[in-house]
Every structure is written in structure tokens, then in C-alpha cells.
Symmetry: C2
Subunit: 226 residues, 2 copies
DNA sequence: CATAATGAGATACATGATATATCAAATTTA
DNA sequence: TAAATTTGATATATCATGTATCTCATTATG
């Protein structure tokens, strides 16, 4: 999600799709939020067709759910679905990171540290949308260096499914930092050019980052989210 | 791809999407084949809107490629893209198989042997569409037992990207069986309830199955496919 | 209290209009 | 004369608009 979307010279469907994806990642939308084609078309100043097409793409991505003749809303992940997504991410993300290592230079590591600082600052200030975007940027700026575009596509789809849930849970369950932040292990591993340590650092970040979310999800699962 | 598509009581887009997906897996379409919205709408007896929507889904899946104002055609994978997809599959498919093991019983193994026999018979008779579908069925009937629906979704998307290429290459490059077929190792591992052996068998099947494709792809890559 | 009819709201689809990319032929130019 | 460029015709996707249909909630009814 590189900056706010100012796309041009693409089809309208594609532009709307990109906008929505950004909103899903940037804490603008929460699980269960309903999206109405007609309203969106009006507020965007377009017709319903491209809106509908963009929404259908996101349904396919698993970010939205649709009851055919009736409504479209931001998908609500069950606890079980969240766990499954995490399991898949554990298979893919450490691998992407390890592959990225060969394309990492010192300048990149410096940039990454900047992103991490932005994340920490935003968390302290309780600016969760910024924190979420910084976390996204931290992970994907590494993954992108893997030069595996199709793997990155898959990972983007996984993240856009989880995004709204994080938006909802972040204030309650963001990592607590008893120990050092896992991102620092990532940076250290990059410095040492140690692929195994790098993969492990991402694995740990995923597990630790998810732990508090999981705990919270378990506690509210019976009653479901609003 | 369970049998020919006779879908009902779904949205038109979804029906058309399912049909196209089937055709992509069943050797009806080859890389580079062009798909025209208007023609398809006419031959299906529907309007253009649902056709376009179905095609857009498949573009999103990576099965089709589209030059925005101009054409839509079956995607042509480059050698590099094929290799990347195989790398991703190697991360996911053995895992899915291992997870499936706990839900496998003897009746299932017997069914799987039937599917494998269908595959072998079809290959001998050079009935490649049937062989491809049987191979699909062999793999996914195992994966489905993993009870990881989202992982299976991802795998389906990977296969639908590769499908047309296999349709094109199968006559040239289908596995040669110097040794025993890897599917037999799969069945043996299932019988022994050996998760590691099962994962390895799928890994080997993927690598061996891809080897001859790769060789062929490399030989024609410079000039590209028709 | 359970069930059936009714109505509002939203999506799904069909139809029609517009814009744009490509290709080929004609024209210009070296 | 040959090459390159322009120009126009054609085909196609894209988007807008209008209509039909479906789902659910509410209310009426047995």
C-alpha cells in the first residue's frame, strides 16, 4: 500500500479496487461494515457497474463477503479462519524473507529501520491506522525484494483478508513488547546476512504478533463481533 | 473439478466463472487463446455483463491476462513464472497433504487408487484431457481432506494458472515413468499413515512431473509459444 | 403463536452508448 | 522506389442507464 491511491490511466474498476484495498488495510473499514453499490457509485461519481466489479474482486480475494441477492460487507473472520490464515502465512512469509536476502543492501536496511521507527512512534501515540500501514510496509518492503511477484500477490490477498480484523483488534491486542521487538531481530538478521535467522525472525514476529490477537479473539468468539 | 458443470441456483457470473475454470483445467483452452466478451455472451445466451465479471475474476486469479481497453486472453506463463509457481506449490501442497492424513480412511485410499488408474489408462490412450482432470482430482481429493478451505482456494488458483500450459505441453512432456509412479508412493504413504513420507511423495511428484515440462519449456522459450 | 402475505431496498442482469487500441491502406517523405 | 508516417475503419472493451428479480423485515391473519 504505497501511499494514498492516485491512480490514473487504468480502468475505473481497477482504480476503485485499489482504493478499497487501501481502505481495508488502513483502518477505514471494520469487519461487518456494509458496502452498498449504489451509495458508493454515487459518492464516487461513477455508475454502479465498475463499483460492482471492484467489489466482486474483493469478494474473490476473501476480503468481502456477499450474500448473493442481498448484501456485501467486510468479511468477518472466525477464530478458526484466522488460525488457518496464520498457518498459511507461516509457510510463505519466512520463505519470501529468506529469498529477499540476496537483494538487500545497506541502504535498504536503513530505510527499513525508518519504517520500524514510524511504527513504534505511531503505536506510542495510539495512531493505529499509521501503525498498521507501517507494519504492512515493513513486511512487504522485505517480501518485495524476493523478486517473487506471484508469491507477493498471494501474500497481499492474505493480508487484505486480515486487515480489517486487525483494525478492529489493534487497540485491544497489539503486541506488548515484554522482550525486544521481533522487528529488531529481522534487522539484525539482515545485517548479518543470515537467511535462517531472518526466516525465524519473521516466524516469531508472526506468532508473537498473533498471540494477543488470538487470546482476544478467543474471549469474544462465542458472542461474535458487533 | 468435479464432473462437468451443471450449476444452478447461483448467480450467472458465478456459473460462467465455474464453466470457464473447468474449461481451463480440462484442456479446452490453451495459452494465448483469445476470449471475446461479446461472442461469449451471445453463445451463452446472456448479456455481456456477467461474462465480463467472470472474466475479471479469472484475470484476478492469474488465469487470464487483459490489456485494458483491448483484449482478454489465456495467460501465457513465462518459464520464470512457471518456476515460481512450482516453488510456491512446493511450500504448500506437501503441507496440505500432511494435514490431510488425519482425515483419511481406507475407503478414501481405495477411491484414490481408482482415480490413479483412470489417469494411467487415459495416458496410455493419449486422452490427455481426461488424464489432466484425473491428475487434478488425485491431488485435490487429498488436499480437500486437510480441512483447510482457504489453503485449498489458493491451490486452486495456482492450478488454474498452470492448467492451460499443461494442456499445451502434456502431449510433449508428460512424465515418462522410468521408475514407479510417484502417485504409488503417495498411496503407500497413506496406507502407512506416514505424514513425512506423504509430504515427500507429493514433493517428488511435483518435481518429477515438472522436470520434463521444464525441459520442454526451456527449449522453446526463446521463440515463445504460438 | 405460527404462518403467510406484502412491501421496501438492494443486487443482478440486459441494453445501449462511448472511447480507444489496432490494423491496414493511403499518403507523404527521404 | 522504398520506408516511414498519417489517417481512417473496425473491432472491442468500458462504462452508464434502465429493468427485473431476489431477499428480508414487517405486518396481517388464521
Amino acid at each position: 500500500m504505497q501511499g494514498p491511491p492516485h491512480i490514473q490511466s487504468k480502468s475505473l474498476s481497477a482504480q476503485i479496487y485499489a482504493q478499497l484495498k487501501y481502505q481495508l488495510m488502513a483502518a477505514r473499514l471494520q469487519p461487518g461494515d456494509r458496502l452498498k453499490i449504489r451509495d458508493m457509485a454515487q459518492s464516487l461519481g461513477t455508475s454502479e457497474t465498475p463499483v460492482r466489479e471492484a467489489l466482486l474482486q474483493l469478494v474473490r480475494d476473501g476480503a468481502l463477503e456477499m450474500k448473493p441477492g442481498y448484501y456485501i460487507r467486510v468479511r468477518r473472520l472466525t477464530l478458526q479462519e484466522y488460525v488457518e490464515l496464520r498457518e498459511i502465512r507461516l509457510l510463505l512469509e519466512p520463505h519470501a524473507a529468506a529469498k529477499a536476502l540476496q537483494n538487500v543492501d545497506d541502504a535498504f536496511i536503513a530505510e527499513l529501520e525508518q519504517v520500524h521507527e514510524t511504527l513504534i512512534r505511531a503505536e506510542l501515540e495510539k495512531d493505529y491506522p499509521t501503525a498498521l500501514l507501517a507494519n504492512y510496509e515493513f513486511h512487504f518492503s522485505v517480501y518485495r525484494r524476493s523478486e517473487m511477484p506471484q508469491l507477493i500477490e498471494i501474500l497481499e490477498r492474505l493480508w487484505v483478508q486480515i486487515g480489517p480484523l486487525l483494525n478492529f483488534l489493534y487497540p485491544f491486542g497489539h503486541p506488548s513488547y515484554d522482550g525486544p521487538h521481533q522487528h529488531l531481530n529481522v534487522i539484525a538478521a539482515l545485517r548479518n546476512r543470515d537467511a535462517d535467522a531472518l526466516a525465524d525472525a519473521f516466524r516469531d514476529d508472526l506468532i508473537e504478533g498473533g498471540r494477543s490477537f488470538l487470546k482476544y479473539l478467543e474471549s469474544i468468539e462465542p458472542e461474535k463481533q458487533p
